[in-house]
């Protein structure tokens, strides 16, 4: 549409876009590459993308299972005629062999063993899904009432929804935190979930969608003797699946990636950490040699959404840019 249609022009455009793509991909490349390489390769910047994958000895693992006096005594009968010193060396050799692994195994096994990463991932799933389900539970009936039922005060309620769209929840974190602290709810799942249970955006979105549903459908359901309650869940909900799916993606991506709010309300209890908090804590604890495992953790946290996105790009782009429909 814009620009010349010559091959040269086309090639130039590709060149610019490829340069941009390289910058965009750079950190992903670094993250995955570091998660595969050994500490030495990371420090010296060698080994290309995947590194040499030369077996490496995990010194910490060796230290932990260093043969003690008891182990040496137990191994004595097998090595008759050798001194304790020699037996220890033999055993140590065996431990070192057991603690030898390729860098990629080292990085990823450390990611899961140094911190309870699986638990963090599970917390992430629990929190994001709970938030989404409660959001729908609250928003759907409200949106239905605003779109399809006539009642005194409807305009006021809708005006309030529009006003609340202006308030970014992160911005009011401090008063919310105080309220939760006064209720003794900090460091609970509730603290992670409750502030997000009301999505005024979800209400607005579903209302707009319900406006397009023909009244005849609802009247027919009423004729069949359905209550308003079952109309919401058995008639309106099924018609709204595409909109709900987009909203689900919007909500899950936002809360899986959210770092600020968990940081505020989860202060001590590591059992409640969400994935980003776990990664951040890893960074705080890490010493120099732990870049690999840390990047492995980052990869594990970032990958699920990236893969989901690559599989269902159109839906994801729709969902994430939902805010564009306002």
């Amino acid at each position: 549409m814009i620009g010349s249609r010559t091959n040269l022009g086309e090639a130039l455009k590709h060149l610019v876009l490829i340069l941009g793509a390289l910058v965009v991909i750079l950190p992903f490349y670094v993250m995955i590459s570091y998660s595969l390489k050994s500490p030495g390769e990371i420090e010296r910047n060698e080994g290309g993308f995947i590194g040499a994958q030369a077996p490496m000895v995990d010194e910490r693992c060796v230290k932990l299972s260093e043969p003690d006096k008891k182990a040496i005594a137990a191994a004595k009968p097998k090595h008759a005629g050798k001194s304790d010193r020699e037996i220890k060396d033999i055993l140590l050799e065996k431990v070192r062999a057991d603690c030898t692994m390729s860098p990629v195994v080292f990085n990823y096994s450390k990611a899961f063993s140094e911190a309870p990463l699986l638990l963090y991932l599970l917390n992430g799933v629990i929190v994001t899904l709970s938030i989404f389900f409660i959001q729908v539970l609250v928003a759907l009936p409200c949106a239905y009432a605003l779109a399809k039922l006539k009642f005194w005060g409807r305009g006021v309620v809708f005006g309030l929804v529009l006003f609340c769209l202006l308030i970014p929840v992160h911005a009011i974190a401090l008063p919310l935190y105080i309220m939760l602290a006064k209720l003794g709810l900090t460091n609970t799942y509730a603290a992670l979930i409750v502030p997000w249970t009301i999505s005024v955006f979800g209400i607005f979105l579903m209302r707009q969608f319900f406006l397009t549903v023909p009244d005849d459908l609802i009247d027919a359901a009423r004729m069949d003797g359905m209550t308003e309650f079952s109309i919401v869940w058995r008639v309106m909900l099924p018609t709204a699946i595409p909109a709900l799916l987009a909203f689900a993606i919007f909500s899950v991506v936002a809360h899986w990636n959210d770092y600020f709010w968990p940081r505020v309300v989860i202060t001590g209890n590591r059992d409640l950490f969400t994935p980003p908090l776990g990664l951040r804590e890893f960074k705080g604890d890490a010493d120099g040699s732990f870049y690999g495992p840390m990047m492995a953790t980052a990869t594990v946290i970032v990958t699920p959404l990236i893969i989901a996105f690559l599989l269902a790009q159109r839906r994801f782009i729709e969902g994430i840019t939902l805010t564009g429909m306002k």
Binding site: V30, A145, H170, L176, P276, A298, F316
Partner: protein, 311 residues
């Protein structure tokens, strides 16, 4: 509906949960923040006293909060126009390609999906002055003579390349870069949607009226027709960049950047209000923050209204 009386109550039953939560979770905290901003409240304190405008005075008098305002506004002022420009540029280029556009779209959208905290940590490694790939790569080009003609590059080769996040001249700009890296794909997608909705006849009409060059077509058709998208992109990017926190906290957890150069508002709210329990002061920053957001939204509404009158 069993009885008319019960039937009349049903809508209220449907909106009640949402209404209650809206009041408790969204509206009450705003009021609480405004009230607390005039006090010296702290969690666990036995007494609270009314301090009037003291907290606000502190914000406007202390030099560190002057730095906060500068850092926040500079961050927003850089990230919004640059990520808008890049998003629009990418959208125009992709739209005009004969093939391969979808691939670029996918790649550029990746940062939007990735947890910003994780990517901030990765960028910190990438830009690390000793082991980072960026400075290593720059240093490996020091033999290239024609690049040495660039004074900045020559300086880097003879001395050291910038520490990026480690020096105050570069830290905030580097954070802006990460913010732009993350945001522009989102803007690109909005612009792609906007471009699709421009009727082709407008371009033909413009051409007949003498708009020959690509620039003329852009100036006379594309840009005006993208007006609503632009207003929206500016508002949403501005509100999001005002809330920048993850990158600052991940990279400068204790300081807010070298010489407080990246001491942004959300970080201050977190540091003062939550870590140091100076809730009254944190509340004052919160109120100021909400005023910024309100102002932005009002400006957006004005722009949208003007557009509709114009059209």
């Amino acid at each position: 509906m069993a009885t008319p009386a019960r039937g009349r109550m049903i809508p209220y039953a449907f909106v009640a949960p949402a209404l209650v939560l809206m009041f408790v979770i969204l509206l009450a905290p705003v009021i609480v923040a405004v009230v607390l901003s005039f006090t010296d409240y702290g969690l666990g304190n036995t007494s609270v006293s009314w301090v009037g405008w003291d907290n606000y005075e502190k914000i406007f008098k202390h030099s560190r909060y002057e730095k906060m305002m500068i850092a926040t506004l500079l961050y927003v002022g850089v990230v919004v126009p640059v990520s808008l420009g890049l998003g629009l540029g990418a959208a125009l280029l992709i739209k005009s390609l004969r093939w391969g556009g979808d691939l670029y779209k996918t790649i550029y959208f990746l940062p939007v999906m990735a947890a910003l905290l994780a990517m901030a940590i990765v960028w910190e490694f990438t830009l690390n002055p000793t082991i980072g790939i960026v400075n290593k790569t720059l240093a490996s080009y020091c033999d290239v003579q024609w690049l040495r003609a660039w004074p900045w590059f020559d300086q880097g080769c003879r001395d050291t390349f910038p520490l990026w996040l480690g020096e105050k001249e570069y830290a905030l700009w580097t954070l802006c870069f990460i913010g732009i890296w993350q945001a522009f794909g989102f803007n690109m997608v909005l612009y792609l949607a906007g471009l699709t909705s421009i009727p082709r006849e407008l371009y033909h009409a413009a051409e007949m009226d003498g708009a020959k060059s690509a620039w003329d077509r852009f100036r006379l058709v594309t840009w005006p027709m993208l007006g609503p998208t632009t207003v929206f992109v500016v508002t949403i990017t501005a509100i999001r960049s005002f809330q920048v926190f993850d990158t600052v906290e991940a990279i400068f957890p204790d300081s807010g950047g070298p010489a407080k150069s990246a001491y942004v508002m959300m970080f201050v709210i977190y540091e003062k209000g939550i870590k140091q329990n100076l809730i009254g002061f944190g509340a004052a920053v919160t109120v100021l923050f909400l005023l910024f957001v309100l102002a932005l939204t009002l400006i957006q509404h004005r722009m949208v209204e003007r557009r509709t009158h114009y059209a």
